[in-house]
């Protein structure tokens, strides 16, 4: 295997397949063959939670190409799918299975929110569908030397990275203590319920606390956390969940350096007007949105982005919009996708917008 992959990634083969590269040929023979790119085949789709009237949660099992370098528990991956067979759309999902090595199968678990184009596609996906991947990314990980006692706090689908960590610890036969605190809407909405119940019953040194504030369980507060995990401010803690939960956690850990957090960003919603701020992420500057095109606003902010025709035909000024809603001034079309390539000479922001300039 490694001889083949070394050969596929060799400079000689790169020179022979120039300018397109080896992968542009391999993918046509078998989509599971790759020299550099990472792709995966969906081998299983499993509904974790399916409450009528609520978005379902599903775990997707992926068989990656041999180019997948593995992941560390807590990391995420960019996953791209072809929507309607034409438009590749990429979102970030957290790996929910334990640490993986090169070419290993792994799972991602996601809630298919109504506006989640990719997650809705994935939970309905057929086994055998190919998806596009990045390598695993992210610093929200366990250290090589796992501390004697660790605390995981999560909310909703924020359970995925800490579940990956818990599963890894189970597999590594971690001998210390693990406190696992999770907030869900109701027991019906509990992701991984059966597995957590099993771990609570048999797991050595694992305390599982599943809480449902909507049914009267206490919300997170320093006092309550102290009662649950005495001396928690000295216990290395990983927290992941919606922004309000993370705010509460961060307040409980003020002046403590044991906390690592990861939270979901609320999507930037269009205000339909020239309000808000435009952030130029590479320059690190922000200016009030004047409603002019992003090219004009960038130039007004003293930046010198590349441009050509200034009328939307030549693609010289294409830049990546990190977030926010823009209107195409030629067609009136709006788009709110994150990390989207746009022509800044014909795109004007509506409300807050961040652009990679």
């Amino acid at each position: 295997m490694s001889i083949v992959s070394n050969l596929l990634a060799s400079r000689a083969l790169e020179a022979l397949t120039s300018p397109h590269g080896v992968d542009r040929y391999l993918e046509l023979v078998n989509p599971m063959w790759a020299a550099r790119e990472v792709r995966a085949r969906i081998v299983d789709v499993h509904r974790e939670v399916d409450v009528a009237g609520h978005p379902p949660v599903a775990t997707i099992t992926l068989q990656p190409t041999s180019t997948w370098q593995g992941h560390r528990a807590g990391q995420h991956v960019q996953l791209g799918v072809e929507i309607d067979g034409a438009r590749r759309t990429t979102r970030v999902f957290t790996v929910s299975s334990p640490d993986s090595r090169q070419g290993d199968r792994f799972t991602v678990t996601m809630r298919a929110n109504p506006d989640g184009l990719v997650s809705r596609h994935l939970v309905e996906a057929e086994v055998g569908t190919m998806v596009h991947l990045s390598q695993a990314q992210g610093e929200f990980i366990l250290p090589d030397q796992v501390p004697e006692h660790v605390l995981f706090i999560s909310g909703g689908s924020g359970i995925t990275p800490v579940m990956s960590m818990l599963r890894s610890l189970q597999r590594r036969t971690h001998r210390g203590r693990v406190s696992f605190v999770h907030y869900a809407q109701s027991p019906e909405h509990q992701i991984f319920a059966a597995e957590l119940a099993e771990i609570a019953r048999t797991g050595y040194g694992v305390d599982v606390h599943l809480l449902h504030p909507e049914l009267g369980d206490p919300a997170l507060s320093p006092a309550w956390l102290e009662r649950l995990v005495p001396g928690y401010r000295d216990v290395p803690t990983w927290a992941c969940g919606p922004a309000p939960l993370i705010d509460a956690v961060q307040k409980a850990y003020t002046d403590s350096d044991v906390l690592q957090v990861e939270y979901f960003k609320a999507p930037v919603v269009s205000t339909g007007a020239a309000e808000g701020d435009v952030t130029f992420t590479r320059a690190g500057s922000t200016a009030a949105n004047t409603g002019a095109t992003l090219l004009e606003q960038a130039e007004a902010a003293g930046l010198k982005p590349e441009f050509g025709c200034r009328m939307g035909i030549c693609f010289s000024c294409t830049a990546t919009k990190k977030e926010g809603t823009v209107t195409n001034v030629l067609t009136g079309e709006t788009s709110s996708l994150p990390d989207e390539d746009i022509r800044i000479c014909v795109s004007s922001p509506q409300g807050d917008c961040a652009i990679d300039l």
Partner: protein, 372 residues
């Protein structure tokens, strides 16, 4: 030939709006069909390429190998490369078909070419002094280009450009003519030239060293075969591209005419500055649908497979506005271009050359020759 606008500002606005409407409609229709189409073209191209490379191992199949490789290179440059690099498939979100990432099988690095083509040529189409594709800085192709004895070699330059077109396209971005005229500094070219050298090295290594070497004792036939495929691609692309803007009747514009140009006038200029080629589906495919140069110039970022579908509509609109829609068979357009290349080699009527007698297509124009 310079052209003074035949439409009023209001008519131009209306004309522009009709064009915008077509663009918007097609944009909203883009989807799986377009994606499947371009992916199939890519598949076919890669298939021809692999077949071409492999057939060189069978000496009797040499002509087939050359044909396969030529088809591969033509598809790669025209229907895939040119069109992908226009951003026609950026909406698919596929890095393999993205204008910012695609690199094509020819000498010119995509980065330089996109600047010179997508921006300069497509924005300033047929504006004398701004569109560097009028004669490519080498040829005299328009009456309004000032004649110079250098242009007596017009047909020879055109022939050489045709044979070595991929090299010409790569070097075009160095704007050598502007350096000669002192309008550009060689310093500005250093990074560009380094990029061109890198790309040329890769192309030469692949076609003239590695693949011939891989066929061992057949090195020479493979080398010659690869060179032939490159020549065939050069000749074909040169001819298609020259039919796009140089046949008789295509208008050029002055910089004054295009100052503070409206969107409607831009469309008007794109229309009158381009010419189509009629022909079969195969011709359209192999020309990267540049046989619909008019539609391409009106809508450079629409997937090219859509051009034949909207051509009738564009033509009907042109008829209503009384605008010329320049089209003809490949033979007719090529003949027209060739005629122009020869005609433009000679000085225009009435040119006087003190102390010099020049044959000017049967006309005598100097005082000395009149005296004689």
């Amino acid at each position: 030939m310079s052209n003074s606008t035949t439409l009023t500002d209001e008519q131009l606005d209306e004309f522009g709006k009709e064009m915008d409407a077509i663009r918007q409609r097609v944009m909203s229709e883009l989807g799986e069909e377009d994606a499947t189409y371009i992916r199939n073209v890519v598949k076919a191209q890669r298939g021809f390429e692999v077949a071409g490379r492999a057939l060189f191992y069978l000496p009797p199949a040499w002509p087939l190998a050359v044909a396969s490789l030529s088809i591969s290179k033509i598809l790669d440059n025209m229907e895939i490369g040119h069109n992908v690099m226009h951003g026609q498939y950026d909406w698919m979100g596929d890095p393999g078909l993205n204008s910012r990432m695609y690199e094509w099988d020819t000498m010119a690095p995509s980065e330089n070419w996109k600047h010179g083509h997508n921006y300069i040529h497509h924005t300033f189409t047929n504006i004398l002094g701004k569109d560097r594709d009028i004669g490519y800085g080498i040829l005299r192709i328009d009456e309004d280009q000032e004649w110079h004895p250098y242009y007596l070699g017009n047909p020879v330059y055109a022939f050489l450009l045709m044979m070595f077109f991929e090299w010409g396209v790569a070097l075009h971005d160095l704007e050598v003519e502007n350096i000669v005229k002192g309008r550009r500094d060689w310093e500005e070219n250093k990074a560009l030239a380094a990029g061109i050298r890198r790309k040329m090295k890769r192309q030469v290594l692949k076609d003239y060293v590695l693949f011939p070497a891989l066929t061992g004792p057949l090195f020479v036939p493979t080398f010659v075969g690869n060179a032939t495929a490159n020549f065939i691609r050069n000749i074909w692309t040169f001819n298609i591209i020259f039919c796009g803007h140089f046949p008789a009747g295509v208008a050029t514009f002055t910089q004054e005419e295009c100052e503070n140009e409206s969107r409607g006038h831009w469309y008007y200029r794109q229309l009158l500055g381009s010419a189509n080629i009629t022909g079969s589906k195969l011709l359209h495919l192999m020309s990267g649908n540049l046989s619909h140069q008019i539609e391409h110039h009106l809508f450079p970022d629409l997937p090219a497979r859509r051009y034949p579908q909207i051509a009738e509509e564009v033509r009907e609109i042109c008829q209503r506005y009384g605008l010329q829609y320049n089209t003809g068979s490949l033979g007719k357009q090529l003949g027209s271009v060739a005629k122009k290349i020869f005609k433009m080699a000679l000085p225009p009527k009435g040119t006087t050359f003190p102390g010099l007698s020049v044959l000017t297509g049967g006309r005598t124009s100097t005082t000395e020759s009149q005296a004689a």
